[in-house]
């Protein structure tokens, strides 16, 4: 349904160009929950922004249901890491923002259709546990509630695919787990196709039907792993042996490219024994500042 064909990205800085993504291709089937997992700086968010149409690729194309997509559009909804509710709108007005855009106001629509849209936005808010906060302003909500409202807003638009960029990254551990369970419930209810970005291994396994492991600089897919659990995932799944085994596998994949043992011991030696001799030996001479 969603196809990424040879997407690549090179950032040009003043002096040099930095390769962020090697050509990447994969496809996502309808109803799949695919997670891009990787260390920070591996280009997974960049890829998501390219799919959303908010960033230009240096090459390649994105196809949705057989059509090439250019620019951003409502059929690819997005939830961001930062809180992005419109502060001047109430929670309910935020959720139905898309319906109030001039292009979406269609006077030929029957009232029942319009009521359906409003009803959907409101039902999604209820589903996300915000039934008592329809008329609250975003500044009155906690971080977790803001993200839940943002998810409801993105889904109210009935997007073909939902893109999520570390949506729970700014939340505390407790709230994050609650949000993950809510996400599973929502998935069972809505069956939306999701492309999800995270660096949290637990989150990736717990939520997805498939994990794409990224390696850094330049970003490319190191492994395409199906997650063997069904849609019904109780909380204690996270401590089951199968879950742990998968976690170990992903952990090792992610840490292949990490700092070598030699670097670590050298760093440790420096921290334990900060005598000037060693530090002067280890330090490169500073370049002149002017």
């Amino acid at each position: 349904m969603l196809e990424i064909r040879d997407i690549e990205k090179t950032f040009a800085t003043r002096k040099a160009s930095v390769r962020a993504l090697d050509p990447i291709s994969f496809s996502v089937k309808a109803g799949e929950f695919v997670t891009l997992l990787g260390p920070s700086g591996c280009g997974k968010s960049t890829l998501l922004y390219i799919v959303a149409g908010l960033e230009k690729a240096s090459g390649g194309s994105v196809w949705l249901e057989g059509q090439e997509v250019r620019g951003a559009g409502p059929e690819r909804g997005m939830v961001f890491q930062n809180y992005t509710l419109f502060p001047w709108l109430t929670v309910a007005e935020n959720a139905s923002f898309a319906h109030q855009l001039p292009r979406n106001i269609d006077y030929s629509k029957r009232p029942s259709e319009i009521m359906n849209q409003v009803g959907r936005a409101s039902a999604l808010l209820d589903l996300m546990g915000l039934a008592d906060f329809h008329d609250a302003y975003p500044r009155e909500l906690s971080g977790g509630m803001k993200q839940r409202a943002a998810i409801a807003r993105a889904l109210a638009n009935s997007p073909r695919v939902l893109l999520m960029d570390e949506p729970f990254g700014a939340l505390d551990a407790q709230t994050r787990e609650e949000m993950q369970e809510m996400m599973l419930l929502l998935q069972a209810h809505e069956k939306t196709t999701v492309l999800f970005v995270t660096h949290d291994i637990d989150e990736a396994i717990y939520l997805s039907s498939r994990v794409l492991v990224f390696s850094a600089r330049p970003g490319r897919i190191a492994r395409d792993l199906p997650v063997p659990f069904g849609p019904d995932r109780p909380v204690d799944l996270k401590i089951s042996p199968e879950f742990m085994a998968l976690k170990r596998e992903l952990f090792e994949l992610l840490h292949q490219g990490a700092q070598g043992q030699a670097d670590r011991s050298r760093l440790l030696r420096k921290l334990v024994d900060p005598s000037p001799q060693i530090s002067s030996k280890d330090h490169e001479p500073e370049p002149p500042s002017h």
């Binding site: 149409g53 559009g73 961001f80 992005t84 001047w88 001039p102």
Partner: protein, 268 residues
Amino acid sequence: MREPFTSIFALRRPISTWTYRLATVVSFLAVLGGWTWVSHQSWVNPIFIPKPEDVWRVGLDLIRDENLGRDVKMSFLRVTYGFLLSAALGIPLGILIGAFEFCEGLLQPLTEFIRYIPVPALVPILMILFGIDELSKVMLIFIGTFFQLVLMVADAVRRVPYDLVQVSYTLGARRRDVLELVLARSAMPEIFDALRLCNGWAWTYVVVAELVAANDGLGYRILKFSRFLQTPKIWFYLLVLGVIGLALDIVFRKFNQRVFRWANPSLR
């Protein structure tokens, strides 16, 4: 300090409304008290510093006089015309500069350049261009506030988080929708605060405008009193200017708090 979070001198902590009001009243009384004390000293010439009771007595006469009402009305009209003109042109232009970097490159350096020309220095040129009637006075206020307002509005628009622009696109908004419904809308509280500051400057410039060629207005009257060394009357007019400024400031603030309740967690 034992209790750094509850004392009235805690850093950036709120104090009770009554303590706040009391502090305000104390400051006004202190200035009034200092003025009274100084003006009653034998070494002070009353022409330089008149006694508060003299200013009050003269003021009562002036209030009964028809000139005060007319002066206030004329100054108010000039300020309002100049201010409305600069808001009507400055807000859209500022939004464009803040929203499109091309507009910024085109107009911002030019605006910065003009902003640094002292406005009173333009009085002779404005009189040559627009005559000595109302138009030149309104234009002086316009020029004094317009360029400042444009830059403040542009800054307010630039401070809108870019995330809000991106999320709007993914919700199906087009460029024009984002400009009108998100960028302009989000910056509105700050734009109205910029208007409040501009209104203050407009009252400065109206006095400048009236000092040169006018037959009425607060500035004109002050100049006239000074020719006859009627200092108590001058002081009374200065007090009137202060009261008008303070009142308008409060009106702007209250309006802002009411209309933009979403942006104001605390109300005083």
